[in-house]
């Protein structure tokens, strides 16, 4: 057997391996990728949602209608800052940016300022197959639900 074969196979394995988690392996955020989710909003609207690594430290969320038509305007970027140990959630179109600690417990809460208003996005894990996401704004001394959804994993 040629000596080139093991090298080739090793390179092939590296190519197919998912990006390594840059932080604590129990960070559930990295479990979002690797398949699609079907999400139903609190208003009953359904979407197909995907989380894909754009680089080893960043996940891009996109969504499409159930019939497959992409929602091109929708994009969320989750970037992990390894130095700070925090996640940054940004809306490329809206200029929002929220931060969160790694997702090591049931809830993963992003908070920040957007358009002079406090915004909070909370993921609640239901284990591997599902999660809930709430989007809230802070007004008159309390958090107000703006939108939410529940998501189930479609495939992996």
């Amino acid at each position: 057997m040629s000596v080139a074969w093991p090298i080739f196979l090793a390179l092939l394995w590296l190519e197919q391996s998912p990006p390594a988690a840059p932080a604590d392996a129990v960070d559930k955020a990295f479990g979002l990728s690797g398949g699609s989710w079907t999400c139903t909003s609190f208003h009953g609207e359904q979407k197909i949602v995907s989380f894909e690594f754009s680089d080893p430290n960043a996940i891009v969320e996109s969504r499409a209608a159930p019939d497959g038509e992409d929602d091109a305007a929708y994009e969320r970027r989750f970037a992990f800052d390894a130095d700070k140990g925090t996640w940054l959630l940004s809306w490329p179109s809206g200029g929002w940016s929220l931060t969160a600690q790694p997702w090591t417990h049931a809830r993963w809460t992003f908070e920040g300022i957007a358009k002079a208003q406090r915004v909070r996005v909370t993921f609640t894990s239901f284990g591997q197959p599902a999660f809930r996401r709430d989007v809230e704004t802070y007004s008159a001394g309390r958090w107000i639900e703006r939108n939410g959804e529940t998501c189930k994993r479609l495939s992996q």
């Binding site: 009953g44 239901f126 709430d134 189930k152």
Partner: protein
């Protein structure tokens, strides 16, 4: 907490949707409980009411998976609830939901799901008639009750929809039909036994 909320199932939570009707008259309408209770039953007669169901495989009637340990629930408006499903008999599931009431003490909301063996149908009565409806066995991902929802002094065609979110979580929506389309007016997500 207002009376309408207490009586209207925190989940149903008519208080979240005053647009559905006047606040003064939205006490849920009591519903008659005339469901027959003869066997055969979807519930295994040998299983004690408090037995924990195996999460997999899905039982013939997924409704059984609701029994056992209480569920920690959260409404769309972040009210925290605890719901306990029990089977006092082979053809009935009772639900008691507890809301932490602070100084006023805990509040309870009761529901009953009664199995009609002739029609092979579950009949649900939620919070004294805030929702009354029926559904076949829960055999897929969703369990849909169709019936009526009494809220805001009005009665609407409505649905109560359970959606499994894996073995240890579910979502429950309450919907009414208005102007020819369905609207979710309240929902909750519930989970238990999450290991991670």
């Amino acid at each position: 907490m207002s009376r309408r909320c207490l009586l209207g199932l925190a989940i149903v939570l008519a208080c979240a949707f005053p647009a559905l009707g006047s606040a003064a008259n939205d006490v849920p309408q009591p519903a008659a409980s005339s469901e027959p209770s003869a066997p055969p039953s979807p519930l295994p007669s040998s299983a004690p009411a408090s037995a924990s169901p195996a999460p997999t495989p899905v039982p013939v009637d997924r409704a059984l998976s609701l029994l056992g340990d209480p569920w920690a629930c959260e409404t769309d408006h972040h009210a925290a609830l605890v719901s306990a499903f029990s089977a006092p008999s082979e053809d009935r599931i009772d639900v008691r939901t507890t809301l932490a009431g602070g100084l006023a003490g805990n509040r309870h909301i009761d529901e009953a799901f009664v199995w009609d063996p002739v029609a092979a149908t579950w009949h649900a009565n939620v919070a004294g008639g805030a929702f009354v409806g029926s559904a076949p066995r829960w055999s897929g991902e969703v369990w849909i009750f169709t019936g009526t929802a009494a809220t805001g002094g009005h009665t609407y065609n409505g649905r109560m929809v359970f959606t499994a979110l894996g073995p240890n979580a579910f979502r429950r929506d309450f919907e009414v039909e208005r102007d020819g389309r369905r609207q979710i007016y309240s929902l909750e997500t519930c989970s238990r036994d999450l290991s991670d």
